[in-house]
Amino acid sequence: MKHIKTVNKPNLQESVKKGGCGECQASCQSACKTSCTVGNQVCEK
C-alpha cells in the first residue's frame, strides 16, 4: 500500500473466541508497583 503501512498482525478479534486460560502474569495498574498496564503484556500461551 502506498498510503498505509500496517505494522502488526492483530489478534484481538480472534482472542474473543479463545483465551481466558489465566496463565498470564498479574498486572498491577497502579503507580506503586511497576504498573503493568495490560496492554504491555504478552500472552503466555
Binding site: M1, K2, H3, I4, K5, T6, V7, N8, K9, P10, N11, L12, Q13, S15, V16, K17, K18, G19, G20, C21, G22, E23, C24, Q25, A26, S27, C28, Q29, S30, A31, C32, K33, T34, S35, C36, T37, V38, G39, N40, Q41, V42, C43, E44
Partner: protein
C-alpha cells in the same frame, strides 16, 4: 458511541489505531485527514471535503486502501462484547504479601503512610505467610502459574519470614506441580551480600526503587532521620544487578510535580548502568508534589522528549527497556485478560501482616474493603463479584474510550481514592495513560519498521 478508531500524531508520525482489532497503521497526512470524515461508506463525501487540498485520483486511491483494510477487518472491526471465555467468577492467581507494615524510609509520597498503612507497625509471621501460600494453592484451581509478591513497607525488614515463606513455596511446588514466580520490591537500604545470594539462589525477581537523579531521589525518599538515601542505595542496586548478570529485575521510580523533566531521571538511571526501567506518575491528592490537570501539557511534552531520547539511545546501541513503551502488538493478551485487568479483588489479593485479605496492596487499611482472611477465606462475597464486573465494558467512562483494551480501566484503588467509587476512573491517570499508550504505539511502529528494513 464507542470509538472504533483513534488517530494521532506522535513525534511527527501519523498513526491510526483500529480499536477493536488492535491493528496499528502508520499513515500519511492524507489518510489522517480522510479519517476526519470517512466512515467506511461515504467515499464521495470524503472527496468532496478534501478535493481542494488533494488530487481526486490520489484520494480515491487512498480510499481504496482503506476499503482493503475494512475487508480484512483491520479497520472499523466490530465491537467486542464480554466473551464467553471471561468467566463470571475469578480464580485467585496471585497474592501480594505485606510482609512488613514498617519501613526504614520516609518517602513523602508513600501510599502506605511510610509503611504502617495508617495502623501500627507490624511484621507478618511465618505462620500467616505459609497459610497465605496454602490459601492460594487451594483457590487457584487448574492454573499452573501463580505469582507471589513480597511487599511492604520494606520487606527486607522481615527477611527471616521471607526466607521461611520461600522455603514453603518451593516445598509446595514439588507437592502440587504448581509454578510460583516470586518477586520482591525493595528500597535497597538493607540489600547486602547475604540477601543478594538468597535472591539469586531462589530466582526471586526484584523491583528496585530509585527515582532517578540524586536530587530527585533524595528530595522524596529520605530515611527515618530525613537524610538522603541515594548514595547508599545506588551501589547496593548496582551490586545486586551485576550479581545476576543484569537480568530479572526492574528499576522503577516515581515522578512528581517537582521533576516533570523526568526524562533526565530515566537517563540518569540508564547512565548508572541499569537498562530495565520504569518511571510512574505519583498518585496523590492535595499535596504540593501532586500532579494535577494543569500539569498535563508539560507531562505530554516530556513523554515526547522521552520517546526521542529512548529512540536515540536505541540507535546508538545504548538502548534500554522502558516498561511503558514495551508492547507486543501482535501477541498481546486475550480479550478475557483485558477485561480482567489487574484482577484486584478477584484474581489478585493482598494479605496484610495479620492475614487479612484486601483487593490489592493499595486497599490495605481501607477497612470497608476487607474481604476476609487467609484463615477464614473470603467472607464478604460482594466485593470479589463487584471487582470482577468492574471492567471496561461496564464502566461508563471506559466503555467508549479508544484506550479501553490497553489500559483495562486503570487502577481501582486510585478511582476509589479520588471518587470513592472503583467504577469512576481517576481522570489525570487516564490522561497520562493515554499519552503513554500513544508513545508506546509509535515506538513499536518505529521498531517494527526498522526491523523490517534491516
Amino acid at each position: 458511541m464507542s470509538e472504533k478508531i483513534h488517530k494521532f500524531i506522535q513525534n511527527g508520525m501519523y498513526i491510526l489505531l483500529d480499536v477493536n482489532s488492535g491493528a496499528v497503521h502508520v499513515i500519511d497526512k492524507m489518510i489522517y485527514d480522510i479519517m476526519d470524515t470517512f466512515d467506511g461508506t461515504n467515499d464521495d463525501d470524503v472527496v468532496l471535503s478534501l478535493r481542494d487540498k488533494y488530487d481526486e485520483a490520489e484520494l480515491r486511491e487512498a480510499l481504496s486502501e482503506l476499503h482493503e483494510l475494512i475487508k480484512i477487518k483491520e479497520l472499523f472491526a466490530p465491537d467486542i462484547d464480554v466473551p464467553p471465555t471471561f468467566s463470571d467468577i475469578g480464580i485467585v492467581k496471585s497474592l501480594c504479601l505485606m510482609v512488613a507494615h514498617d519501613c526504614n524510609l520516609r518517602c513523602k509520597y508513600c501510599f502506605a503512610d511510610t509503611g504502617d498503612f495508617g495502623g501500627g507497625r507490624e511484621l507478618m509471621s511465618a505462620e500467616v505467610g505459609e497459610r497465605a501460600i496454602d490459601y492460594l494453592i487451594e483457590h487457584m484451581g487448574h492454573r499452573i502459574h501463580s505469582e507471589v509478591d513480597f511487599f511492604g513497607g520494606e520487606p527486607l525488614m522481615n527477611m527471616p519470614v521471607v526466607r521461611r515463606i520461600t522455603e514453603h513455596v518451593r516445598k509446595r511446588e514439588k507437592e502440587t506441580g504448581k509454578v510460583f514466580k516470586l518477586t520482591l520490591t525493595t528500597n535497597g537500604l538493607m540489600l547486602n551480600e547475604e540477601n543478594r545470594k538468597f535472591f539469586n539462589d531462589n530466582n526471586i525477581s526484584l523491583v528496585l526503587s530509585l527515582d532517578g537523579r540524586k536530587e530527585t531521589h533524595d528530595r522524596m525518599r529520605p530515611d527515618a532521620g530525613w537524610h538522603g538515601t541515594y548514595d547508599r542505595v545506588l551501589p547496593n542496586f548496582q551490586k545486586m544487578v551485576a550479581s545476576r548478570d543484569g537480568k530479572n529485575y526492574y528499576l522503577r521510580g516515581t515522578y512528581t510535580k517537582y521533576n516533570l523533566d523526568f526524562t533526565d531521571d530515566v537517563l540518569s538511571m540508564a547512565d548508572a548502568g541499569f537498562d530495565i526501567l520504569s518511571i510512574e506518575p505519583v498518585v496523590a491528592k492535595d499535596m504540593p508534589y501532586a500532579i494535577g490537570e494543569s500539569d498535563l501539557p508539560r507531562i505530554y511534552e516530556e513523554y515526547d522528549r522521552l520517546v526521542e531520547a529512548y529512540l536515540a539511545r536505541h540507535r546508538e546501541g545504548k538502548g534500554f527497556f522502558f516498561f511503558h513503551f514495551n508492547m507486543d502488538l501482535s501477541n498481546g493478551p486475550c480479550v478475557a485478560k483485558r477485561l480482567a485487568g489487574c484482577g484486584a479483588g478477584h484474581e489478585y489479593m493482598a494479605v496484610a501482616a495479620n492475614g487479612d485479605l484486601y483487593p490489592c496492596h493499595q486497599f490495605v487499611g481501607r477497612e470497608r474493603y476487607r474481604l476476609g482472611s487467609v484463615f477464614e477465606g473470603v467472607t464478604d462475597d460482594k466485593w470479589p463479584e463487584y471487582f470482577r464486573h468492574s471492567h471496561v465494558l461496564n464502566k461508563e467512562k471506559c466503555r467508549d474510550c479508544w484506550a479501553r483494551f490497553f489500559c483495562s480501566g486503570g487502577c481501582h484503588a486510585n478511582a476509589d481514592l479520588f471518587h470513592d467509587d472503583i467504577r469512576e476512573p481517576y481522570e489525570v491517570g487516564c490522561a497520562i495513560q493515554k499519552k503513554r499508550l500513544e508513545c508506546a504505539l509509535m515506538v513499536q511502529a518505529v521498531l517494527a519498521m526498522e526491523k523490517e528494513q534491516s
